[in-house]
Amino acid sequence: MSEAAPPVLAVEGLRTRFGAVRAVDGVSFAVARGETLCIVGESGSGKSATALSIMGLIPSGAGIVEGGSILLAGHGELRGLPDAAMADIRGRAMGMIFQEPMTALNPVFRVGAQIAEVMRRHEDVARSAARDRAVELLRLVGVPSPQSRAQDFPHQLSGGMRQRVMIAMAIAYDPALILADEPTTALDVTIQAQILALIDGLKERLGSGIVFITHDLRVVAQIAQQVCVMYAGVVVERAATRALLREPLHPYTKGLMASVPGTRPRGALRRLPAIAGTVPNLARLPVGCRFRNRCPSAFARCAEAEPPLAPPVGGDPDRLVRCWLHAA
């Protein structure tokens, strides 16, 4: 992040709990205008819970955002805002794109109407004007013959087209912040590349800050300027993309990178290494480092206390890592 651009989103010490499960346990990061930050991690690492907490979409009966701060440029602190005030911000100052375009669109409404609904909600526009803008948005996100596609129901569109519809909905108001929760995971590889290019292009055109959640490091390499690696509800490593991919510091990040096909030198066929074990039960976390049970480099100190998220000793001061191997 450059010094000149003030962050569009600054998250500080965010904590979200579902019953006894601390899904997000003190997460901090910031995103500038025109910047993409990727949050990487396995299922259950708290990536989606982080995004939903920012949007204020944690279901009220199930979970609660209990601590930290979410600052959105132009709107100030979001945490603790009543839902009515959040609803005014959602879809306008920030938009979200979800993972499953198959289920994320309402099956009984035409897609044009679903996009137009955003405008009808946030300003006093005539039905026909909103519909025209929906068609315009469809054109902007690269849907061919948008006029007639707007009349389609979701099930009449392909997965890639549906995801473009989702994106059109999210960017209706050129939002300062776009949250994308694994938007390409459910798509074919070729479509994935198109959607990634589209989102990347929108960032340039709209100047939005993007928080992009993925478990795919190849996606990170393509679109992100910054990366947060999450594990069991905490950030274990945060760095500029290039620095992180060139030299991962945390053993978990190293494990993630080793398990990506094609990132290792060519040679004889070999079994892809996987990180042994699974994410710990977030309701009963082990004492000390959360990763130590699966860590190949764990030593005595890891069981004593949780390491702080801090710049590595003797390393790049602009990056952060949560590991005793790199702590003072």
């Binding site: 949007m55 979409l57 009966g61 839902d83 009515a84 609803a87 005014d88 911000i89 959602r90 879809g91 306008r92 938009g95 979200m96 979800f98 499953e100 289920t103 994320a104 669109l105 309402n106 099956p107 009984v108 409404f109 609904e117 955003v118 909600r121 946030h122 129901f153 099930h155 989702m166 909905m169 999210a170």
Partner: protein
């Protein structure tokens, strides 16, 4: 869509034939001589034979059925042995009373039932939800005849707020409609609650909220339309039961509708009346279910143009 409708209407013909055959056989195979019944206890054998001949009851069963079918196709449901009046005329004369009763009961069940169900689903397991659940359990488990008598006793006999029986103004409607509708309010409330809970956990509901839609728009627009399909199915299924309930309610409240006409016909062993009523009810139920099936494709675009 149109092809489908035509197909469904064409399929009605064999269905109705089967229904008419079943009704005809059941009523003609039950013990008892309709001619003897019609003639009365003191009739001479000669008179009975005359009646038998007049109504064709001396013919073989298959020929009776054939004649019956031809007449039904011409809109003739026979005439009552007692009153000597055409059954169809009597049905048509009493139909408005039953439509009024069943229609308002259904309306009450849908509006109040769905309203309660949706309200309960918004705060699952809260005291509101539990109170609605308790009322539903009562509504489902209490028998119609008991509820009817109870309401009549309380509001007509004790408090004297409402007339106990008969058809007339709005006041006359309240007790029978409530009696008939309450079990369905309960059923609709339960099904609406569970389908809404299911729909509210769908991804597209989260999308709707992510667009900034407020709670009301999310629930009444995005969720309820998707929850409507199971509810409409229920409407079709329960319409038949509602007509059955109407038979009881009309009898309790002396409501001059089809149900009471049929019950009177049964008590008097008036074969043509019973036969006509059952055929009419069956046709009505089939027709409503046809409408329900066609409604699906209107509600859910994924079913249409399949």
């Amino acid at each position: 869509m149109l092809d489908y409708a035509i197909y469904r209407i064409a399929v009605l013909v064999p269905t109705l034939l089967a229904v008419s055959l079943a009704v005809f056989l059941v009523l003609h195979l039950v013990p008892g001589d309709p001619a003897r019944n019609a003639a009365g206890p003191d009739a001479e054998e000669e008179d009975i034979a005359l009646i038998r001949e007049h109504y064709g009851l001396d013919q073989p069963l298959w020929r009776q059925y054939g004649t019956y079918l031809v007449r039904v196709a011409q809109g003739d449901l026979g005439e009552s042995y007692r009153s000597r009046r055409p059954v169809l005329d009597e049905l048509v004369r009493r139909l408005p009373a039953t439509i009024e009763l069943a229609g308002f009961a259904m309306l009450l069940a849908v509006i109040v039932g769905v309203g309660l169900g949706v309200t309960a689903s918004m705060r699952p397991n809260s005291w509101v939800d539990q109170a609605i659940g308790a009322v539903s359990a009562f509504g489902i488990s209490v028998p119609v005849f008991f509820l009817g008598l109870l309401l009549m006793l309380l509001f007509a006999a004790k408090l004297q707020w409402l007339p106990p029986s008969g058809r007339g103004g709005w006041a006359n409607l309240i007790l029978p409609v409530t009696t008939l509708g309450l079990p369905y309010i309960a059923t609709f409330a339960r099904v609406a609650r569970s389908t809404m809970l299911e729909v509210l956990s769908e991804d597209y509901i989260r999308t709707a909220r992510a667009k900034g839609l407020r709670g009301g728009a999310v629930i009444w627009r995005h969720a309820l339309i998707n929850a409507a399909i199971p509810l409409v199915t229920l409407l079709g299924i329960y319409f038949g039961r509602l007509l059955g309930g109407a038979v009881i309610v009309e009898t309790i409240f002396s409501w001059p509708g089809l149900g009471r006409y049929m019950v009177d016909g049964i008590i008097q062993r008036d074969l043509q009346v019973v036969q006509g009523c059952i055929l009419f009810f069956a046709t009505a139920i089939i027709a409503v279910n046809l409408v329900v099936d066609l409604l699906y494709s209107v509600l859910d675009p994924r079913i249409a143009r399949g």
